[in-house]
Amino acid sequence: MFDKRDLISSFFLLVLGLFMAFQSLKMAVWSRSGPQEGFFPLFIAVIIIGLSLLIFLKSAILARAEKKEILKKHEESEVSFFRVFSYFILMLLYGLLIEKVGFLITSILFLILILKYMEKQDWWITIVLGSASVIVGYFLFVSFLGVPLPRGLIKW
């Protein structure tokens, strides 16, 4: 059974393994007093390279042999990669902006974007849930845990 996913994933893992091997060879691998810092990473890299190559070759051979439609393991209908990607980007933006813009503004913007635009809730829920989350979050982290959350543009 050919699985396109295996082909792709094993390729990336292979690249990872090669990268790791390359980096670990730059380190000292062995000396008279035994294994050095490069030993373990190299060992791991070899395993990754070997096994990912195995999967890759197996998928490639099967792909050649079958030449059929790629077997889809899960239903692909209704799966919106756009949604996944949007969430991913929104979260990244949160992380990138929180220190510059501050906890308060970033969180409010983030929650509004998610609740209103991604999950299509109405304004009422967005505002209530959004503010509740930010307030609770503030109390939990700042008051209870004493974590200084970034103030950013607003100086509170």
């Binding site: 792709i8 980096q23 810092e37 096994l51 991913f88 929180i98 983030f110 609740l115 974590v147």
Partner: protein, 511 residues
Amino acid sequence: MLENLSMGFKISLSFHNIIYCFIGCSLGTVIGVLPGLGPAATIAMLITFTYKLDLISAVIMLSGIYYGAQYGGTITSVLLKIPGEAATVVTIIDGNQMAQKGEAGKALGIAAFGSFIAGTFGTIVLSVLAPPLSEFALKFGPPEYTSLMILGLTLVIYLGGKSVIKAILMGAFGLALGTIGLDPVTSFERFTFGTQWLLDGVDMAILAMGIFGIGEILYMSERRVSGFSPYAVKCPEKLRELLPNRKDWKASMKPIGRGSVLGFLVGILPGGGAVVASFLSYAAEKKLAKNPERFGKGAIEGVAGPESANNAAASGAFVPLLTLGIPSNVVMALLMGAFMIHGVTPGPFILKERPDLFWGIITSMYIGNIILLILNVPLIKIFVKIIEIPYVLLSPLIIFICLIGAYSINNKALDILLMIIFGFVGYLMRKFDYEAAPLMLAFVLGPMLEKSLRQSLVISQGSPLIFLNRPISLALMAVTLLFVLSPIVTMFLKRHRFISWNEQVRKTTGL
């Protein structure tokens, strides 16, 4: 023994610890009820909160979440044909059938009682086994630890999912992530790309929140979720309906007993755990039943056995952590992280140096099981209400807590970004069919393994024979080899049947 227990109870019966136990158990049940959010992600998120708490209270609460989730997952499995937890997938087969026939109360009731009996049994065995095991573990030196960890990793990989190669790859990836930071022996900087930030390595909570929290959220975000399962059954109204009658008890006693023992033993094995235990119990009960055709149509043994097994396994999972300092599954790895944050390294010394910690935790499990029985029998309707909360409201909350939680670890926004990247990795792993447990465990065990491996080789002056010269180490290596080489053993552990049961369950539940 009795003095230890009474000391432990004095600690766990203190007002604030009971509260924390209650919070943990309730939260655990809620988590179990909610599909998608599991104890791993929750505990990862809460680890940051435990900074402020005393270690005993923190572990009591976090443990409560873990075994509480085993109780909660049953509710959705029986009533909605959706598994709240991986360990309750098997309960769907007969549990939901029973519900369809109007016997939801019995299914839930026997599951709760079975879980209670098994959980208590597991805790008792834990209390009895742990001290001698700790004593034994004091004899362990670096070679023994190395062999033990190799065995542990091997088990996690073998008892994992379908593809062993993929599991090994995930294990290797986890080991790789563990090498980031300072080398444990020479303090050489590895894979830090010249940054200060990665000097301490990747934080376990970030990895866990990323893969299990954000990763799960991304996966769930693929489609707009709305409405319920079409198999929904109404929750039984009266308490009496939740009590199984004599006939049910008679039928269930042996499955509960077998499930408890089986579950505990499987729980001790790294990589074993509640999921495998529940599958094995189901298979065993079906095999041993008088009329096996009843299974799949609402046989109470198919609920009693697995439900007991998963709770006993949860108790068993604590054994390696508390006695040897080796985590047996992802949750234990996180608990280990919580210990280390508070400056305590779990291992055989805990019993000697911090008996208050040791017995406080164990006795809290007795209390926890009682609390859970109360929560799951009379108060079950509250939890059923929770299922009705639309997921769309919960996921933003979860994301938000993860985001701030990630920041709060080191006050660095970079940690948030790293967590999100791991989230994406976790999502890809889900899509490409790679297991997360080997990754997590290898990540935790990796640095420890490397350290003891290198220490061993220093002791032996470079000779790998040291692992075979010492009896305990030799024995452990032999068992590892047995697993790797013998297909009979792995078949006996029913990986085969596990996989085919897995497939059958997936077909039944349409997952």
